[in-house]
């Protein structure tokens, strides 16, 4: 199928994201990339766990007293919801509803921005008010790198999806941009799953000691 073909909701294929070779490549490619990213996060998680609460002799900050669940819970909810809204966007893509894709992707971006804002606020609180800066200890370095790597993924996802929305604002769905939306949405789900692990490993296990 040609990339420039114009479609109607009737002629729109069931799996538009995989209808062309390019689309199929993107689909397989993003999954392969995510496999690799999982190993990346696994390495950072392992490091965090082995450096948790480790610092210079006499360090008085520990995960149990530093972390709270309230903010983390709100952040979790924001990100989980954004995952859901990106599912809606994919649902509309299946039905060849370009406007629906854009709106729900837009909401996903807004929720993601909310999450990012809270994360920045949290980092600011820890650094400025708790004296828990990046160079404070091995514990702080590993915490910021773990959560920050996830935050960086969120930023990349936001730039990516925003770019897609702006680029495809006026031109509707076709077999060229459908795989791009689809890949971005898979990536966004992945970011969400990683956060669930961060919430569990860093915040829940942190608070429980």
């Amino acid at each position: 199928m040609d990339l420039n073909t114009k479609f109607t909701p009737k002629s729109w294929p069931d799996h538009a994201e995989q209808a062309t070779l390019e689309g199929k490549n993107k689909f397989v490619g993003i999954w392969i990339f995510i496999c690799s990213d999982i190993v990346l996060f696994a390495s950072v998680f392992a490091t965090y766990l082995s450096l948790k609460d480790k610092g210079p002799a006499g360090m008085d900050i520990s995960a149990a007293e530093l972390f709270g669940l309230e903010l983390a819970f709100v952040m979790t909810m924001l990100l989980l919801t954004s995952s859901l809204t990106s599912v809606y966007a994919m649902y509309h893509m299946k039905n060849f509803n370009s406007k629906g894709v854009l709106i729900w992707m837009g909401i996903t971006v807004l929720l993601g921005l909310g999450f990012l804002g809270l994360e920045i606020y949290e980092f600011y609180e820890y650094t400025v008010h708790e004296g828990f800066g990046f160079t404070h200890s091995a514990f702080s370095s590993s915490f910021y790198v773990l959560v920050g790597t996830h935050g960086l993924h969120v930023i990349i996802g936001l730039v990516w999806i925003t770019g897609l929305i702006i680029r495809n604002m006026k031109r509707g769905l076709n077999l060229y941009n459908a795989p791009k939306f689809f890949a971005a949405s898979i990536y966004w789900h992945f970011i969400d799953v990683v956060w669930v692990f961060i919430f569990t490993v860093v915040y829940l296990m942190g608070v429980l000691g």
């Binding site: 397989v28 950072v44 990046f134 370095s141 060229y176």
Partner: protein, 630 residues
């Protein structure tokens, strides 16, 4: 020399632009090959300096500090910047042909992968001119690499980070290519072994490089931004580096040696004129080696003090790898058994490989024996062992494949006579250099020593070893001479140069046009070209589609600019610990360039272009005379 593009006689500028922007897998393959060769020569030269220094006791040919820089750069360059790109060169040039694809899945990323690798490598080598190269060994163990003054280690961290990203991108690219772009009928169990090993090796890259990226990132922020991952006074732990490094480092060996196995699995059947023995067990063994490769990293850390239980587990797991590797060796021997062996240069490399690699393998099992490894670890025994594996296994594969695939890659032939001379000089030099090093290790000589005192019983062997290294150097120079001579040689202009080609790439008449097969071939079994040939097909293959327009991707300069962006950012990070005011702006500028290119690319649709049927017919007539590629 290169594969022919539509454009005919062009000026130097146009050719250069063509190479800077190309996304053609064959051209990128050639670029990988020559870049790899360049770094192979550099690292080989460093090895020669090392061996000259160690030729006699108490030598002062190079200083202690320079020696450490040389040994670090030798190891780092050989593994990351020579062996990997040389093999990537063959993967790029051959794998799409072997599976009947037009190109790789992501031609743009293929180009990006190359340029990231190349600029990362360049960055690393700039260290020699900018205040000193890294000097903590290719393993760069954390306590020493944090302690090391100057910017050497910073160059190592940043250079490898950039080139590692390139390698990872290429790995993903190969996996997707092999999964989605096989010609009709090319099932997984009909894929040639080189394609299989490329797939598994890429999967290893996929899982092994992220831990390295993470480790390098920790080192980067520790050295340049005040983090404390490895500073034990701040709660850090240097053993984390060892784990991350070896979780990457051990699979890295298989990333390199599996494609080498694949190359030999292509060469041996052709010159034995016999189907590869036990194909399915070869595939199984490849997968098993790849899988076990991730289970054994701590055998590099037997003396780190992980405790007897960890050592015992990793010892047994390591020994287990010998089983699938042994399966492969026996399968190769059974392939030549009952065959009709024609000795050619590629074949003699394959024949030399088997005993050399077995020797490297058995010493590997000896070191897997943890309590024995307490003696062997970090002695010259291990130096001998891994050179037997890497030179005996990987370098012989690369040299053999260079002769084997030269007709396809460059439409020329390497001189046979000179090829034999190179083989014997290099091969004898290799054994002379490394065989005695086993004994040096057993006699108590630690590795990575810049000198040694006389009369500890090591003088004679070190001297002989250095003589061998010089022979290896001569061999490599002669190989390059052979390559240069081939420019003047007669074009091959035929398919199946060796006469007994079996897999798909031999069905193409050289020079291979930029779109590879003009019609996608239909694969009817394992060794598809052999099948067609022996059924009397004179047209190479049976085709799956009528001749029609071919869809091809556009070239792009963006990958190069994106890589340059990372290159610039790396300089910002490098000078950050010096407290210069421009470091952060430069980092932002560099990353900004890269991001801007990405945005530019996504805002400009790249739908590729079509080569029309008439153009194809015209080009084929020009290349092969009337009638085109028949």
């Amino acid at each position: 020399m290169s594969s022919v593009a539509i454009s005919k006689k062009t000026g130097f500028g146009a050719t250069l632009w063509d190479y800077l922007t190309t996304v053609d897998h064959k051209k990128l393959g050639n670029m990988y090959f020559f870049a790899g060769l360049l770094f192979f020569a550099i690292a080989g030269f460093e090895a020669l300096l090392i061996r000259i220094q160690l030729m006699v006791p108490n030598n002062d040919f190079v200083s202690a500090g320079l020696f450490n820089e040389l040994l670090t750069m030798h190891g780092t360059t050989m593994l990351f910047l020579a062996a990997t790109p040389l093999l990537f060169g063959f993967m790029n040039a051959i794998v799409p042909l072997q599976i009947g694809a037009r190109d790789v899945a992501f031609p743009f990323l293929n180009s990006l992968g190359f340029w990231l690798f190349f600029l990362g490598a360049l960055f690393l080598h700039l260290s020699f001119f900018m205040g000193g190269a890294p000097d903590a060994g290719w393993t760069s163990y954390a306590s020493l690499s944090l302690y090391s003054p100057g910017h050497g280690i910073d160059f190592y961290v940043l250079g490898l980070q950039i080139s590692g990203a390139g390698t990872l991108i290429s790995g993903i690219n190969f996996i997707v290519t092999i999964i989605t772009m096989r010609a009709p009928g090319m099932t997984f169990m009909r894929m040639p072994l080189f394609t299989w090993t490329t797939l598994i090796s890429s999967a290893l890259i996929l899982f092994a490089f992220p831990p390295l990226t993470v480790g390098l990132f920790f080192m980067l922020v520790d050295r340049m931004f005040g983090a404390n991952f490895f500073d034990h006074t701040m709660g850090g732990n240097t053993i984390i580096w060892e784990h991350l490094f070896w979780i990457f480092g051990h699979p890295e060996v298989y990333i390199l040696v599996l494609p080498a196995f694949g190359l030999f699995s292509e060469i041996i059947p052709v010159f034995a004129r016999k189907r590869l023995f036990g194909y399915s067990s070869m595939v199984f063994a490849t997968i098993l080696i790849g899988f076990l490769g991730f289970m054994v990293w701590a055998h590099h850390m037997f003396t780190t003090g992980l405790g007897p239980t960890a050592n015992a587990i990793f010892a047994v797991a390591t020994m287990a790898i010998a089983v699938p590797t042994g399966m492969k060796v026996f399968n190769w021997i059974l392939t030549i058994w009952g065959g009709s062996i024609k000795v050619t240069v590629p074949m003699i490399y394959a024949l030399g490989f088997i005993p050399s690699f077995v020797a490297g393998g058995v010493t590997g099992v000896m070191q897997a024996t943890a309590p024995l490894d307490y003696q062997l670890h970090d002695s010259y025994f291990i130096v001998a062992h891994f050179h037997y594996v890497i030179v005996g296994g990987i370098v012989t594969a690369i040299f053999g494949a260079t002769h084997f695939y030269w007709p396809i890659m460059f439409n020329r032939v390497l001189n046979e006579k000179l090829g034999y001379i190179v083989f014997w000089v290099f091969f004898i030099g290799f054994h002379l250099t490394f065989f005695l090093q086993h004994f040096l290790g057993l006699m108590g000589m630690p590795r990575r020593v810049f000198t040694y005192q006389a009369d500890q019983g090591w003088d004679l062997y070190n001297f002989i070893s250095s003589i061998g290294a010089i022979m290896m150097g001569i061999g490599v120079i002669l190989l390059v001479v052979n390559m240069l001579l081939s420019i003047k040689g007669k074009p091959v202009n035929q398919r199946d140069y060796w006469g007994d080609g079996r897999s798909l790439e031999w069905a193409l008449v050289t020079p291979v046009p930029f779109y590879n097969f003009k019609q996608t071939p239909l694969i009817r079994g394992y060794d598809p070209y052999w099948i067609e040939k022996h059924e009397g097909n004179k047209e190479g293959m049976t085709y799956a589609e009528p001749l029609g327009d071919i869809h091809m991707p556009h070239g792009s300069i963006l990958p190069l600019i994106m890589s340059i962006g990372m290159f610039i950012a790396a300089f910002g990070a490098l000078y950050h610990p010096d407290g210069v005011s421009w470091s952060v702006p430069v980092i932002i500028l560099g990353i900004g360039i890269t991001v801007a290119c990405m945005i530019l690319r996504s805002f400009k649709d790249d739908l590729g272009y079509h080569v029309h049927k008439e153009e194809i017919i015209a080009l084929e007539e020009e290349l092969y005379g009337k009638g085109g590629n028949k």
